[in-house]
Amino acid sequence: MTFFQVWAESFRAMLANPMRTMLTMLGIIIGIASVVLMLAVGDGIKAFINKQLAVLGSNLVLVQADSRKAVGARLKTGTVQTMTIDDAEAINRLPSVQGAAPMLTTFSQISFGNDNSNNQVQGTTPTAFAIRNLRMAKGIALSDVDVASAARVAVLGKKVAEQLFYKADPINQRIRIDNQSFQVIGVLDNEGQSFDAGDIGEVVMVPISTARVALIRTPTPRSVQYIIAQSRSAETLNDMVADITDLVRDRHRIRADDQDDFRVVNFGEFAKSAEAIAAGLSIALGFIGAVALVVGGIGIMNIMLVSVTERTREIGIRMAIGARPSDVLWQFLIEAVSICLVSGVIGISLSGALAAAISATGKFDMAIGLKAVVIATVFSCAVGVFFGFYPARRASKLQPVECLRHE
């Protein structure tokens, strides 16, 4: 008997008991659908995290003055501004550092014509644009010349630009920041949460030198609120943290047994733990799906055993007219695999539809990847073979004489 004929037989057997076949398939359909969906959820979470990291900029640390004990009372972080532009420049020169930018921030009233809003203003250098992955939607970014000349220029976050200018072109328009005139030279393309300023779309960026003279009073002419620095790669992130710590301790003349007067906040670590959580979640979700699949598989085994018993006489007849034990084994095995494969296809379609429905809500992106489809198909075949083998083998071991006597 050819493979195709056995296949056709298996479908005939499945159709003979449509209700039972459907119920058996349901177990596998749910199992396969949950495996595929769980894989998609895992991928979705990973993609979501990656998207967030892209906004944050990767491999970043933030160096800020730590609270210092003043007469026994611990003051608020940043109250004492011990970090300076010179620290930032020194950090920028470290071999393990890709780039470092000093930051001064404040909340200011931004106004254009009759519109105004309250936004964070960040005073920084061009380096910040590179290490934070900031792209321009329009115009140009801050330049070294702007910083050197304390130019009254500003780059607007996307939402700020929309708020003040609607659809009009903001480039070269003059806005007022805390009642001082600034020329808009660019609009950022980025959106999403940043680690230090909420939504990056709601930030206004100006040269740090301009911020110091026009907007933010600092304890010393060179002090900054914090410095952001990027390592050359994810692998060297921890080395960079060590280098920065050594350098700043040295520059701040902190003795070996004294505490740091600054701290390094490692966003790379956050990213890493977020990825670890996502990976763990993927495995846990996949495991739940696998459990559902195994339960479905046991259902298949159960039904196949019933089917073998019910069809004992049929097995006897087939053997009498020339079916070898291996023919009987294949017949039942292929029947189990067919049930699983059909269920697999239905399960994949079902999860695809569900994923599309979830994505359509716009809250979470879910896509059924080719990988998930291949894994699910292989799994459903494997379940069929694994749970179908025992009943099939039992059928093949039956004695024709006894089968023919069976009513």
Binding site: T2, Q5, I317, M319, I321, G322, V401
Partner: protein, 263 residues
Amino acid sequence: MPDMPTNDALVQLTGVRKSYFSNRIETPVLHGIDFTMRQGDFVAIMGQSGSGKSTLMNILGCLDTPTSGQHTLAGHTVNTLSRAELAVLRNRTIGFVFQSFNLLKRMSVLDNVALPLLYGNVSRADARKRAEVQLAKVGLSALAKRQPNQLSGGQQQRVAIARALVADPTLILADEPTGNLDTHTSNDIMNTLTELNRDRGQSIILVTHEPDIAAYAKRLVRLKDGLVLYDGPVREGLHQLQSESHEIGAQDAGSIHPQGAAT
């Protein structure tokens, strides 16, 4: 035996014994059967329940193997074959006709008839063609697409005969083929078998408990308690059977004609 077409032994049983074991307790059923059958013979096997008739039938059909003794079929030593080899041998040399027809449900009449060819690795198209020819021979071409349960008993048995013949077997084994049929249909079926034997030299073994049915055969083998009681021409055998039942009297007549008894 006067009218043997060839001298080749198609079936040869030598000292065949068969015991069943349950919990290591041996229950002997066949006590040493010697039986030879030549090509073209038409043998009826008779015996009361418990005579070993069914067991002998299973051995002759290669569905079971003897506990000891020699069994050859069409030149093959059956005792030494594996289950798979037995299946191939059954497929190529034996056509079964059962009391309860044993057609497969869910399959059309045509597919039922073609099935032995599929197990014999004939292509589906060829198998269907040959099955159609065979169905035509038993006069059921019109019913080819029906399901077995839509047919009468007699029609089902004709389909079963077509299935038994489709692979050109050297031996037809008919186990109580008329057991579930009325007298008229029984005669039809028996005439079909007789014609096959007469016109095509088809070798047939017929197992029955009815003397009327056995009378269609040429040769009779009677079994009693696992031994051959009579082996010879059918007319003398049945005559002997009849006189035995007269001698024993009316109280035993029922066991010679055990109506509806299982075989």
